[in-house]
């Protein structure tokens, strides 16, 4: 872990990973979209609208994954005080908020033909909405404080407190058991989705993950550069 705390080493590593992530992203997105639109069966109950799943489910997975990235980097930032961990949390938050918004919007569009309504106050929907608010709060606290070091640590405390919500989201569908269906892919007794639908879903999940890596590294590098420029400006002012 400590090896990657050096920003210069991180930038070198990120530059090496980036091209591969782009290749994986384009490849899996193209193949996954082709499968999702043309080479996967329609559902016997849901018809064509089942194809929304190939965007909705990966977005929902990523909304939780990104929050876990923020929570882990917040923990590292608080315990070991690595500036890079703070930067990681800050860089990941808007991406996670976007994934959460995407999951909510696609879910609403899928809910209208299937459940007859865009929105219900069901356990899973409500807890994902809470997750979206948590992202907003996390980003707001970054903006509300002038001292970046302090803002980062305050945001980290909030992110760790909010991480209590992640298991609630994961298990909400088993606990409340309302309109949203229970977990179908990741469960102990094996997936209940047929392979012909699982494969495009899997491809899209990898594409979303690769997209996250690209934007995440890109935003982290931008943040490192921004801080470098701020330091250089400060030196210039104090030097003259």
């Amino acid at each position: 872990m400590h090896i990657f705390a050096n920003p210069a080493r991180f930038v070198r590593l990120a530059d090496k990973i980036m091209p591969w992530a782009v290749v994986v992203f384009i490849g899996t997105l193209g193949y996954g979209l082709y499968l999702a639109f043309f080479d996967s069966p329609i559902d016997y109950q849901q018809g064509e609208s089942v194809r929304i799943m190939y965007v909705h489910v990966p977005a929902a997975w990523m909304s939780m994954f990104t929050y876990m990235v923020i929570a882990v980097s917040s923990f590292v930032a608080l315990v070991w005080r690595h500036p890079l961990a703070q930067i990681a949390g800050k860089a990941a938050a808007p991406i996670g908020a976007a994934f959460t918004a995407l999951a909510l919007v696609t879910g609403a569009l899928w809910g209208k033909p299937m459940w007859g309504t865009y929105w219900v106050w069901d356990g899973r929907l409500t807890s994902v909405l809470i997750l979206f608010f948590l992202y907003l709060g996390y980003m707001a606290i970054w903006q509300a404080m002038d001292d970046e070091e302090k803002a980062g640590r305050a945001a980290a405390i909030l992110a760790l407190v909010g991480s209590v919500n992640i298991p609630i989201i994961k298990f909400s569908v088993d606990w409340w058991n309302t309109l949203h269906q229970p977990a179908s892919v990741m469960r102990l007794d094996g997936s209940t989705i047929d392979g012909s639908m699982l494969w495009p879903l899997f491809m899209m999940a990898i594409a979303f993950q690769a997209y996250f890596v690209i934007v995440f590294f890109w935003r982290m590098k931008l943040e490192i550069d921004r801080r470098k420029i701020a330091v250089l400006r400060l030196q210039e002012v104090s030097g003259s």
């Binding site: 809470i130 608010f133 509300a144 405390i157 909030l158 609630i168």
Partner: protein, 225 residues
């Protein structure tokens, strides 16, 4: 241990006295609670069935907002006049002080709401079966609200306009308490078992009691640096 206990008692006494002195937060949140609840019959109409249906939710939401209103002053007054620095240097450490301040906040703002809630239940036409659970769930639930809210108050203590941000940070974390507080009262009204709801509400409160002071103390240390 005894020293920290003595400090806690004196902080609680001091804060409760301050909360109930002239212009303190205690009387103001109580009046807010009363007035805000009475707005609902004007808004939704005075039909008794409608009021019965929404009574548990309205009373809970307004209690939650009343708690939120007084939160931004929880640490801010002490931060501004410097007594928070003093308290942080106390031999017992910051943690007992934080716990004491949260308990004092609960005693001076939420406990009066809990005691007043049956009267508002009466005004909102709450059925007789719901009163015990209304008081019980508010008593357990508002404790969690104070402990969770303290984290937001501590994070925003150094900000000049922290109040709006405070509600953005804290309200999402309040939702689980609100859900189980209200479902418990609904269950009591329908004659169902209230134990599962009360148990879940208590579990949330216990988690908040453990996590709240630790997170608040580290956020205050951050602000005092």
């Amino acid at each position: 241990m005894n020293a920290s206990f003595a400090i806690m008692i004196s902080v609680i006494m001091r804060d409760v006295r301050l909360g109930w002195s002239q212009g303190g937060t205690g009387t103001m949140s109580l009046s807010f609670f009363f007035i805000a609840v009475t707005l609902f019959p004007f808004g939704v109409g005075p039909e008794p069935q409608v009021l019965t249906r929404i009574a548990p939710g309205v009373i809970w939401v307004v209690a939650l907002l009343a708690c939120l209103l007084s939160l931004d002053r929880l640490y801010q007054a002490d931060y501004e006049d410097g007594s928070l620095d003093d308290l942080a240097l106390s031999p017992a450490g910051l943690l007992p002080v934080v716990i004491a301040k949260i308990l004092a906040h609960w005693i001076s703002t939420s406990l009066p709401l809990v005691l007043l809630s049956p009267l508002l239940g009466l005004l909102m036409n709450l059925p007789a079966e719901g009163y015990v659970q209304l008081v019980l769930s508010l008593a357990i639930g508002t404790l969690a609200l104070s402990f969770i809210g303290s984290i937001g108050a501590a994070l925003t203590v150094a900000m000049r306009r922290g109040g709006v941000l405070l509600s953005l940070l804290v309200l999402p974390l309040y939702i689980p308490s609100l859900i189980f507080g209200v479902t418990g009262i609904d269950a009591a009204i329908m004659g169902l078992d209230v134990l599962p709801h009360t148990a879940l509400l208590s579990a949330i409160t216990l988690v908040a009691v453990v996590l709240g002071p630790i997170a608040s103390a580290s956020a205050i240390r951050l602000a005092l640096e």
